[in-house]
Subunit: 272 residues, 2 copies
């Protein structure tokens, strides 16, 4: 459905001589990044969004990466930038994220986008994964107003921004993390659970109660070498009302949001 | 206690030829603003911080206010700025707040400070009232780690920033607001309650349970013309472990935090 809309959008921009283009910046050759890059590239091309790759070796200096971002900022053919993180430890991630031009920040990594999510003003873009969680709930017609939603995880990529976006939709949000006492009880009490714990299958049946909707944001590899979420799906599925699978859940929608953001960035530039 | 530290700090800066100075920007003659201004000025002067007033009439244009902020940005004798809000409705508050130099933003109103609070990186300053809540809990030795804290209110002045600051201290935070279902039950379940509902005495005994610590952020005038909080103090006090009074609670500490921020802004400039 979203794919059809995106094709129409790129066709319209194409008519104005603009090809929405995603710049992917990768430092090193991490398997996860390469797999995501492959998926995102395929998804982009299927709707008429071009992709430019920018790859540096894992031992690149911070200056080399900053110089590359400077080049991309000035490259008018690139409308949005995806920067794989975490960056190598010898780099100052905050400084590098904020070197990106705010209008190309389609994954919500600059201070401007962060402030936009926090203040609920239309500035920059929200992190794609956080927005994917909201898009899934929207797609299934889940009205968040007054709902008790618990978020596991307080990262800037998911936990904090998704909490802000849930609150904007009038949910009552609780944020849990590694220091939370009796997390299973708090989670059982929620109507909707967003899980971004960052560890394979750590959320077991003790966290769930009947009727819940569960969004599993995790992407991990289990002991058998298969992709799995942060939720133990086999334990959750018999209890809850609905749960997103891994693979095929949030990850798929995230890529689609990424593409939408590139198109939107290209449109904003055209209209500017 | 804090006052003694602040006197020592201003004395030290004075030795370097610097008088920490607060600029107060007020549009119109609202009683609340004038009362706060009087209190803040007195508090500043008692520790050696100077105050400069900048007052515009209530019907000033947006351009006049932006021009004034431009002048203050360039005035090296002013280290921190307090801008009274809400601004008159004919002004774009977001644009005006972000016109202020980030290094003078001692009350957390610019996007840079917002991003700093959201990301927990040392940028700008947190809103003084939100920081006052944390300072009170710190002062009484309340360890927030793993504690269930409920915040009533989701404003940018209190609710959202204090939630971020509580989370940084490892509390498990729930944010309630006007659309929350069964707010009293959620509040009774908390160990610590931060109330910023924005209406006089709306939080009654149904919100409390024994052992709780309650921070009342509200400042209102009751039917008898007396200052009161958002909590019905007479109903809360017999139930809870501790509650901050209004007047004399958060408001007093907020002014002290404001003074600390001016001194810190002056120090950062001196060290820059």
């Amino acid at each position: 459905m979203l794919k059809v809309t995106q094709q129409a959008d790129t066709a319209e921009l194409s008519g104005k001589g603009v090809t929405p283009t995603l710049g992917i910046v990768r430092v090193g050759e991490r398997d996860d990044d390469i797999a995501y890059e492959r998926g995102a590239t395929k998804r982009c091309e299927s709707v008429g969004v071009a992709v430019k790759q920018f790859v540096l070796p894992a031992d690149a200096t911070q200056k080399e990466l900053l110089d590359l971002i400077g080049v991309i900022n000035n490259d008018t053919s690139v409308h949005g930038v995806l920067l794989f993180r975490p960056l190598p430890k010898h780099m100052d991630e905050d400084a590098i994220c904020n070197a990106l031009s705010p209008e190309k920040d389609i994954d919500g990594i600059t201070d401007g986008s962060m402030a936009g999510v926090f203040t609920d003003r239309r500035k920059g873009f929200a992190p794609c994964t956080a927005q994917a969680c909201i898009a899934i709930l929207d797609h299934f017609g889940v009205d968040l107003k007054g709902k008790k939603v618990t978020v596991i995880g307080r990262s800037l990529v998911i936990g904090k921004p998704v909490a802000m976006m849930l609150m904007k939709k009038n949910a009552t949000v609780t944020i849990c993390h590694t220091k939370t006492a009796d997390m299973p009880a708090i989670c059982r009490d929620a109507e909707i659970l967003i899980v971004a714990a960052g560890r394979a299958k750590v959320v077991d049946k003790s966290y769930f109660s009947p009727g819940q909707i569960v969004i599993d944001v995790g992407i991990n590899v289990d002991e058998a070498g298969n992709l799995c979420g942060d939720v133990d799906f086999a334990q959750a599925e018999p209890i809850v009302e609905a749960i997103t699978p891994v693979p095929g859940g949030v990850g798929t929608v995230t890529t689609s949001i990424l593409v939408s953001h590139v198109i939107e960035a290209a449109r904003r530039r055209t209209e500017a």
